[in-house]
């Protein structure tokens, strides 16, 4: 296992103006589980393929531990990088049995047959595939195929394990159980893992840290709870989790982590790290509905989410999202109190309106 260090890593494809990756600087610690999260076309898969060695960077360097594997004058091809990869399509070789697929990396390395058998048996046991060793990949279900791909990639004891949207082809129920399998696998092997996904639920559930990407850049790279409660900019605040982003101005000096701000014509106390702020991220948990007083708002829409209702509220110019135990009709008037929203500085973006949730 090794850490991955990206510095200034840039990739331009021929014939496109904007770089697919724009000067990526990041460090993935040894044994860390990192998710690359972003909308399609954000460069997350390109970053994964550069890490694997399937693409060459245009500029910048990539180190695995102390080795520079890509950089000026040096490019280590995938076969010499010692990384394991699990593809969205699994990429199992249909002409080999399950055991044959898993044994292939060891065969390539020239291991003795006895050692090979022992390591294959171990990998199959770890992924719960012992009984399927002689099956052909075509005789397996999606989840089983995924586990074969995982076993094949871990049998060679790679320096890092790369996963490219591994759950995208599985149905919802299987996804949950495979998430557990990945978490389990990470715990047992302590492998450095890089996990590409566009599903924030997956990323939030699995990763130690998440790199949120957009347009070839990493917008924020932090632990899931930090991304949620302290987003660095409007994109991250809007992309991850539910809630609203509204514009705001500081109304006084920063005192510890508390900052008085003015938003929607009200003075609030926000959490902040700096006094120079431009926006608030207001999560549904930050809003308490009141029958009287507080900020007045009218209900725009009401969606039942099971156990609670999601209300879209209009506060006269700014949309907010709140949760309510009771149904409300569009046009109803409610009062609300906003407690400790997160204030941050992002002059580049206009305030983003409240969105419909990306997933319920």
């Amino acid at each position: 296992m090794a850490e991955l260090i990206y510095s200034g890593l840039t990739k331009r494809f021929d014939g496109t103006a904007a770089p697919a990756l724009d000067a990526i600087d990041a460090r993935v610690g040894e044994g860390e589980f990192v998710a690359l999260l972003g909308p399609s076309g954000c460069g997350k898969t390109t970053l994964l393929r550069l890490t694997a060695g399937f693409e060459e960077p245009t500029a910048g360097t990539l180190h695995m531990g102390a080795d520079m594997v890509a950089g000026p004058g040096r490019f280590v091809p995938p076969e010499d990088r010692g990384v394991g990869i699990v593809f969205q399509s699994y990429a199992l070789w249909p002409h080999m049995s399950v055991a044959g697929n898993v044994a292939y990396p060891l065969q390539v390395r020239g291991l003795k047959p006895a050692d090979r058998r022992a390591r294959v048996a171990e990998a199959l046991a770890l992924t719960g595939l012992t009984d399927f060793a002689d099956r052909a990949p075509s005789q397996l279900s999606g989840g089983q195929r995924q586990r074969v791909a995982l076993a094949r990639c871990l049998v060679a004891e790679p320096r890092a394990v790369l996963l490219d949207e591994p759950l995208a082809n599985l149905d919802l129920a299987l996804r949950a159980s495979m998430q557990d399998a990945f978490a389990n696998f990470h715990q047992r092997t302590g492998a450095t893992m890089l996990y590409v996904t566009h599903d924030q639920g997956e990323a939030l559930a699995l990763a130690d840290r998440i790199a949120v990407m957009e347009a070839g850049r990493i917008r924020q790279f932090a632990a899931p709870e930090v991304l949620y409660s302290e987003p660095a900019d409007c994109f991250v605040a809007g992309f991850l989790g539910d809630g609203a982003v509204v514009s705001a101005q500081a109304a006084g000096p920063l005192a510890g982590r508390d900052l008085p701000v003015v938003a929607m014509g009200q003075t609030l106390t926000a959490r902040a790290r700096t006094g120079a702020i431009s926006h608030l991220s207001i999560r549904p948990e930050d809003i308490t509905l009141l029958s009287e007083g507080g900020v007045r708002a009218s209900v725009l829409s009401c969606t039942y989410l099971g156990g609670r209702f999601r209300l879209r509220l209009d506060t006269g110019g700014e949309d907010l999202v709140a949760m309510s135990p009771q149904r409300a009709a569009p046009g109803d008037h409610v009062g609300l109190r906003i407690t400790a929203p997160w204030a941050f500085h992002d002059p580049a973006s206009p305030a983003a309106p409240a969105r419909e949730p990306a997933h319920a």
Binding site: G73, R74, D80, R81, Y104
Partner: protein
Amino acid sequence: MIASLTHRNSSRSEGRLLSLLLVPVVLIALGPVVRLLLEGVGVGSGLTGDHLATVLTRDSTRTALIHSLVTAAGGTLISILIGAAFAFLVALTDVRGKAALVFCLMVPMMIPPQITALAWMQVMGPSSVLLRMLGIAPPLGSPQPLHSPGGIILLLGIQHASIVFLTLRAGLRQIPADLVEAARMSGARGLKVWAQIVLPLSLPALGAGAAMAFVTALGNFGIPAMLGIPARYSTLPTLIYQRLVGLGPSVLPEVAVLALIIGVVAILGVLLGRWLLARRSYGLVGLSGQPLSIVLKGGRLPVEIALWAFIAAILVLPLTALLFTSLIPAYGVPLTLDTLTFKAWVEALFVQPVTRRAYVNSLMLATAAAAILMAVSLPLAWLMARRPSRLTRSVDALVDLPYALPGVVLSIACILAFIDLPFTDLTLYGTIWIILAAYLARFLVVMLRPVQASVSQLDPAMEEAAAAAGARLGRRLRTIVLPLAAPAAAAGAILVFLTAVNELTVSALLWSSGTETLGVVIYNLEDSGETVMASALAMSIVVLIVCLMGCVQLAARRLPKGVVPWQS
């Protein structure tokens, strides 16, 4: 800039090494054709303006050109009639036994043309064993009716009907079913839909098929040689053959001009076909499927009987005649239970050194060509799919040329290219190697296309997974790409083998004593009056070919789409 160049050089060196493969491919497959073209523009040594003027103004050239165009056009017309009727009936109606019908329609194309000619000559004429058994043979001394332009046209038409059939059927399958459904919603039914929607939409495909049939008929040597030479009716290919065989390599500059003439006409035909096919896909969007499913009801049985009767007439009848001729002791003797003998078969297969040698030569050449092309095609197809460059794309576009050009043109090109190997005193002319080189050039595309289809359907992640597992390019090709593309490669190899065994046109100009191929020997035997032995040899080849076709057919289900040429 320099930094990026150096790190590019240090990586992917194996892929770079593999691209060196393009050098021999380009030299052998495209070199001869380029050499011939250079000859045409006067770069070559022998040709001068004088040659051009002499050849072009000679009467025989003009006559042969006219004969070529007339027979090719007439043959194409017959091919269109047969091919289109079969395509519409098989693709649009509910006749039964479609697979068997298609297979039988394909057999005439896979049988060497000189065998077709030989077989048909056994059906007609005063010496026909079949007619004499039935007692309806014309009186002795009356002419062989097939020794005429009409005979050439008829056989060319039958031989190439399947080209029209295949192109048209592929075109019919691309017609979106919803276009037909829309016509039906507007109230049109059955034949009206066919006439107003299906027929106009399939005309480009029909035109393209006709263009291909025309080019193939233009280059056909076996049929005009067997039927035309005895009647002193020469086409351009037979004129080239007669001059080269009669006068030797000294007439090379002259025949090069003739070859260029056919080459130009053929390329025009190929371009016309491609243009028509490109037009076909234009504007046809929607789900394709069986566009029209006409239920023939009571008419089905008569239609089926008519189709099978036609197959019997163009396939069973001539082959039966050929078989009967091969079983008589001497030409002219009628076939009865008393006269029936396998003498000619034994003679042809086991006794005669020249036929045995031809079998060995043909099988050796076909095997070598199939094996070499299989070894070349896999990395070449991989290179084209995974490392496309301007060079691979131009190779991709041009490898069709040696196959599309008439065989005589390629033969002349090969003679020009290999008669004096550059930088040496060696010559390949007169050796078996020039035939092998010509086969490699001609059949590369037959092997390459199925393998290409198979490689391009492979998920690149399969190879990337192997790379991540530590396998280098060579190993990935051997352990991942090869096994997965193997069925297509095997089918391609059988097709190359089939076409190479069939082949007469190329070897007719390139053979010399000791390097005869089966095609050459059948022609020579018939030419010297050994019709019975020629028939036995021909019949044995037909059996071999049908068996090989059967193998491909049996494997067809397990192959990617587009690999088996008669199953699109």
